[in-house]
Amino acid sequence: MNPNHLQILSRFFDGETVDPALLAESLAQPEAATYLAECAALRAWTREDESRPSERFYEAMYRMLKPGGGRRPLWRRLVRPALAASLLLVGVALGYGYRSRVEPRRSTPEAAVEARPRAMKPAVGGPAQSESITRQTPPDPAPPTRPAASPRAPSLPVPVAHLRFASWRETGRGGEEH
């Protein structure tokens, strides 16, 4: 039997397409039947392998194949967003702290607004009393606590400064707030 016959028989044994005439010629060879039987024996020996992977392998594989197993764990996926959120909060807190330190020095008008309730305290009586105080307040174009060069000065509402001086000067009742 020549190599061509062996190749034809091998292809035939594997279920591949072969030329019928060549197959007939190959099968007519004296050792063809033995060759096919030996191919079958080799296949049977190869496939009689009963080995299987170990338990360790299966544990790892099922861990990987379960839903989300191939992905990173939840806590690891949340680390970056949590870190970013923390940094953002720290930044906001620092900014707020810085502002609260700087603002009282820069803008007295806010301080004046803060002072309004205290100034109204002695004048118990509500809006009417407030009205009277307002009328008594002399127009003061240049309050001493407001720097003229302040960039925010032009935009400030008039009543702020107005109330401040009204409570300070005109009520003049015992200096509770001093």
Binding site: L6, S10, E16, E31, Y35, E38, D49, S51, L65
Partner: protein, 174 residues
């Protein structure tokens, strides 16, 4: 369970034993075969979308196995596990000196390309076309590798195959 996870799990259930045995026969080392099989299915999980497009499951799977094997070969310089080696004489043992072999020893003595083709056919169950894709060769090339592999194995295992041979064929053939 998400669809891709389901598909990957089903592919694993259907083929992991064949892939493991293929690697075990190819490397002769179960622990290496496990690692390689695990790597194959890790890549399956990552690339299961591609499988949907290609459709040919077994061929696709052993394509991945081939790439895993090549990567393993590059990392470990292990000459026993290459599918792409086309030197037909490499690792082939002179049959005349061999008295008796077990199947694994005989398979280990096949040249790399023939061993891969033989195991892809007999363990993986791939067609000639699929083997040709996996091994980057033609179907005729696969056919030649397979009959040569069988011829060598018949020589190496001649003692064990004697029971199939009648008195007229006892001299051995090839």
């Amino acid at each position: 369970m998400a669809p891709t996870d389901t598909i990957a799990a089903e592919i694993f259930e259907r083929h992991h034993v064949a892939v493991f045995r293929f690697f075990r026969r190819l490397t002769g080392r179960p622990e290496v075969a496990e690692d390689l099989t695990q790597e194959v299915f890790l890549r399956v999980v990552k690339g299961v979308e591609q499988y949907r497009v290609m459709g040919r499951e077994t061929g696709w799977l052993f394509q991945i196995a081939r790439r895993v094997l090549i990567d393993h070969h590059r990392q470990h310089l292990d000459t026993t596990v290459s599918l792409s080696d086309t030197d037909p004489e490499q690792a082939a043992a002179p049959a005349a000196q061999v008295v008796a072999f077990g199947l694994q020893e005989a398979v280990n003595r096949l040249p790399n390309a023939e061993r891969a083709a033989f195991l892809l056919r007999e363990v993986g169950g791939l067609t000639y076309g699929e083997i040709a894709d996996v091994c980057d060769t033609t179907e005729d090339g696969v056919s030649a590798r397979l009959w040569r592999a069988r011829a060598r194995l018949r020589q190496l295992l001649s003692t064990r195959l004697d029971f199939l041979r009648g008195p007229r064929n006892q001299r051995g053939t090839l």
